[in-house]
């Protein structure tokens, strides 16, 4: 083992673990997020550094997302077999009611109430520090889609948080 390589992965871990954990939490809930993030870094251990470098963040969030989707799907399947737990199945997006109730502040409540796509893009942007382009990679969109989604999300939040009755919408003519 090379210390350099170990250092590199561990450095990535300390830099991104918090953001990845929060991201995974929005996708699969708190109890499974740690497993998902562990698996993500296990992947990173096996990847070649020069192939990840330059888009490490996008790589990590993409692997994390796919791992989360898979774990989440299996978990839901398992749970649906145990009827006793049926009411714990997330009803609108992966953030459970319980966790939503826990969200104390108005901001996090507004955030939790966003459509899944908007919340995901916001978490990637503000928490993960990803660029539009990187978010586009993770979410399978184009960078301009990402701008559009984030813009919509921020407008919606502004209405929720500030309680403004109407946030102005401007339109611009664009040639495409």
């Amino acid at each position: 083992m090379q210390d350099g390589a170990a250092h590199w992965v561990m450095e990535a871990l300390s830099r991104y673990e918090a953001a990845l954990l929060r991201y995974a939490t929005t996708l699969v809930g708190r109890s499974l997020a740690a497993d998902v993030v562990q698996d993500t870094f296990l992947e990173l251990c096996r990847a070649k550094r020069e192939q990840v470098e330059g888009h490490l963040a996008a790589w990590l969030f993409t692997v994390c997302k796919h791992r989360a989707l898979d774990v989440g799907k299996r978990e839901r399947r398992l749970r649906s077999l145990e009827e006793a737990h049926v009411d714990e199945i997330p009803d609108s997006g992966p953030v459970s009611k319980l966790e939503r109730r826990e969200a104390a502040s108005r901001v996090s409540a507004a955030l939790a109430g966003l459509p899944e796509r908007e919340r995901e893009a916001l978490v990637l942007k503000l928490d993960g520090g990803l660029s539009y382009k990187e978010i586009a990679e993770v979410m399978g969109l184009t960078p301009s889609n990402v701008g559009f989604i984030l813009h919509g999300a921020l407008k919606r939040l502004q209405r929720e948080i500030v309680g403004e009755a109407e946030v102005p919408v401007r339109a611009a003519g664009r040639t495409s």
Partner: protein
Amino acid sequence: MNQTHEDTRVTDYALGELDAAARAAFEAELRESAELREELAGIESTLRALREEIGTTPKVALDEPRRERIRQELASATPRPKSRLRAVVFTAVTATAMAAGALVFVRSEGRAPSVTAVDRVASKYEKGMLGPQPTAAASAATGSKAKVDQERQAEGQRFQREAYDSFQDNPFIRVATDPRSTFSVDVDTASYALIRRHLNDGQLPPKGAVRIEEMINYFSYAYPEPEGDRPFSVSSEVGAAPWAPQHRLLKLGLKGKHVAPADVPGTNLVFLIDTSGSMSDENKLPLLKRAFELLVQQLDAVDRVSIVAYAGSAGLVLGPTPGNDKRAILSALDRLGAGGSTNGGQGIELAYKMANEGFVKGGVNRVVLATDGDFNVGVTSQSDLVELVEQKAKTGVFLSVLGFGSGNYNDSTMEKLADKGNGNYAYVDTLNEAKKVLVEQATGTLLTIAKDVKIQVEFNPSEVAAFRLIGYENRVLSHQDFNDDRKDAGEIGADHTVTALYEIVPAGRGLAVPGTDPLKYQTPGAPTGAAVKGELGTVKLRYKQPTGTESQLIEVAVRESGVTESSDFRFAAAVAELGMLLRDSPYKGSASYSEVVRLAQSGELDERRRELVDLAHKAEQLRR
């Protein structure tokens, strides 16, 4: 097309996503508009609130057992070899077992190791080219050692097969549930050549490498020339589905108009050639050179040829040179030698620069990338590359990809590049194939006559109970995308034929639909007056002119013809049947290699079609 939609620049600006020029322009607007300033202030205060919220969230971190697990993985991990599928598979599996051996304290829940997530990432990485492909290690490592041991072998085999892909055959769809089918055309042919190489090497191809539409489209069929100013004709034929006698088979055919070489205003070709060490094999660079020599014979004074090599440092081998200066072109070709490592990123930029310099207005402007798949983009990320290719395609410079050599790990990467670059992807395994791709079909391969070609078929419930699109699995579009001109789709070149087959379960005969149950709570809706007997459905096509932005629509009704199937029909059915056998499709029914041979031989065979019969024989032997 002028579209009005919400201006997101306030957000882009607040998030630092505008480039220098756009930022300056936006700031100028800000100075002018109080309304805009107010909007920006709103967005910024929302962002501040969000950032505070995130900042006050307790710092979360991975717990110590999980950190330790990662350190152990690092200790046992060996870097994966580059782009060699099999080596990757075995390294991954071995290392997984090793890692699992050291794994005593992991969770006791004993979740079965899952490969689905990795499969999905794998296919995304192939398709979306996000970077190196993750391995099985992470998923499997969370299971217990015994579990891993138990499933190791099965998984190993699965990966060997599936790392190429992870797509399933399109299923049957009941017309009562969804009467429409929407997909993008595909004129790639690489899959057929890949299958041929595998079979000639004495092995069955990986199932994921078998894309049935590419096999069918490898062959041309006799379709009528388009009438008027339409770029292509549309025709259909209905007959028996040989592998399921109670089912019908619908064959749709598109044919791109013929363009005489003299009518092409000029061809500006930039060859971007991989001269990395791995290209020195006889079936790579030397083969490319011979094929290229043949192509050069077809060019004349109005044409331009440039050659850019990439290997270690990108280099201009030949600037835009008139096509009749054959001596200069051929001697530049001679200078190409393989050696060094690949850095395609700079090479492709240089290639596009040459394409601009030699741009032929109204003609064919194309970068032709020839590589064995070791396309290392260097400092640029893979997504930047796709974006570059996409953006250049909009300026009229398209990209075609020629794949060479075996162990072609980046099969899907190249397909993706060509797809985004409005180009074609062909796999070149023999000089004959090189001739077919570069010389005989030079206009078809090179001159795009219609782009973003989408097909939507609506089936008539009075005639059709269920249908299944054969192949085109990675070309399926959502129904809304059909009328959405922003959605990219496939291109058709001059003289190209595109063929699609649907397997149909006829209505009103009480036939079962494989893989689906009848609905419990609904009966089919009320057919409209148009749902007359005898009409199977309507085919709608949308396409754009090569430089257009607005699509045009063609509509054609499909009817039972009542005559015996044409030999083209039987041949296409034979190719599909061979593909289903090679994919071990759940819908193969009574398909057999002997039937493939019988169907194919029932019509006249040229050399190319004879080869299919030969391949069917080879596959049958290997199967035993």
